[in-house]
């Protein structure tokens, strides 16, 4: 992490460039796999065409063992410190959030990343999907803020 304190501005620029590049590659792969098409998503959810299962499964099958090995041997990343993988335990909000997300996935026939590719491919109703995703995230953020305020008001201040 010593380079972080040495060149914070340059590091930020590099991170931004990495963001743009990985985003573009991700968007390109999703488009290449046709995940921006409602039919691709729906034929998977109808279990008529398991392409998405193979697509996601093979991405995980390639990345999981490499990430496991990289973390075990200890890897210092140039822009993010030591590689540390998340090992979060499942909680109620994960299952609730997943269920609500799944409902939306089936109805809207897209998810956050493919919705962006929809629009750049000329599918205009993707804009409606993007607006809805922004609104939904915002509603959850506001609710989380209120819960936080309630919590801090309930906890007595110790002097």
């Amino acid at each position: 992490m010593s380079t972080t304190t040495a060149h914070p501005v340059r590091q930020q620029r590099q991170l931004n460039a990495i963001g743009l590049l990985t985003g573009a590659l991700f968007g390109g792969i999703l488009a290449g796999a046709n995940l921006h098409e409602f039919d691709s998503i729906h034929s998977f959810l109808r279990l008529d065409d398991l392409y998405i299962a193979w697509f996601m499964g093979s991405a995980i099958a390639v990345s999981a063992p490499i990430l496991w090995w990289l973390e075990r041997r200890g890897t210092d990343t140039p822009l993010g410190g030591r590689l540390a993988l998340s090992r979060a335990k499942p909680e109620a909000h994960h299952v609730k959030g997943g269920a609500i997300f799944g409902l939306g996935w089936a109805i809207a026939g897209t998810c956050p990343a493919p919705a962006l590719v929809m629009v750049s491919s000329g599918a205009l109703l993707g804009l409606v999907a993007i607006a809805g995703i922004f609104l939904g995230l915002h509603l959850r953020e506001r609710q989380a803020m209120r819960e936080l305020v309630d919590l801090t008001e309930r906890v007595p201040v110790r002097n």
Binding site: N16, G27, G28, A59, G98, G102, P112, S120, G122
Partner: protein, 157 residues
């Protein structure tokens, strides 16, 4: 413009390439490739909040740009369209728009509550062997498949 990409890449090319991209972002920046997080940061950026991870805003722009390159430049180009032909065959536009909007609100709210979406939990979280991500992924897969089955029963879809 050009016809460099086939209509659909075989999964055994698209999937492992995506897997390699997930590894690259971890090796370079120790970060997961999550899309809903990029929405949150972009929303904060547009509302001029402080503490925004600007690289996630660039990532948001990148997904859009990459989709444009792949569909309009590397393929012959796709037309301006609704993108929801199957829904539009089944319902009038006055129903399709609120349906898509409502579904998308659920997507956003659910991703916010779960702390990630198909990319953050489904791909990167399971690739990290996070039990929480496996729980989220199993839940949204099961719910989406069940909801689709119900929609097919009760609607002309």
């Amino acid at each position: 413009m050009f016809e460099l990409l086939p209509d659909r890449l075989p999964w055994w090319i698209a999937g492992p390439t995506l897997g390699a991209l997930i590894v690259v972002l971890f090796v370079v920046a120790n970060q997961p490739l999550g899309a809903s997080g990029a929405y949150v940061q972009t929303s904060g950026f547009l509302r001029r909040r402080t503490g925004v991870a600007t690289w996630r805003v660039w990532y948001f722009v990148g997904m859009f740009a990459g989709g444009f390159l792949a569909t309009q430049v590397f393929r012959s180009g796709s037309d301006i369209r609704s993108g929801y032909d199957a829904l539009r065959d089944a319902f009038p536009l006055g129903i399709v728009i609120p349906l898509v909007f409502g579904g998308a609100i659920l997507l956003g709210y659910g991703a916010g509550l779960a702390g990630g979406c198909t990319s953050g939990h489904g791909l990167c979280g399971t690739a990290q062997r996070s039990k929480a991500s496996v729980a989220v992924t199993a839940t949204f897969m099961a719910t989406a498949i069940a909801t689709t089955a119900v929609l097919q029963l009760v609607t002309p879809l």
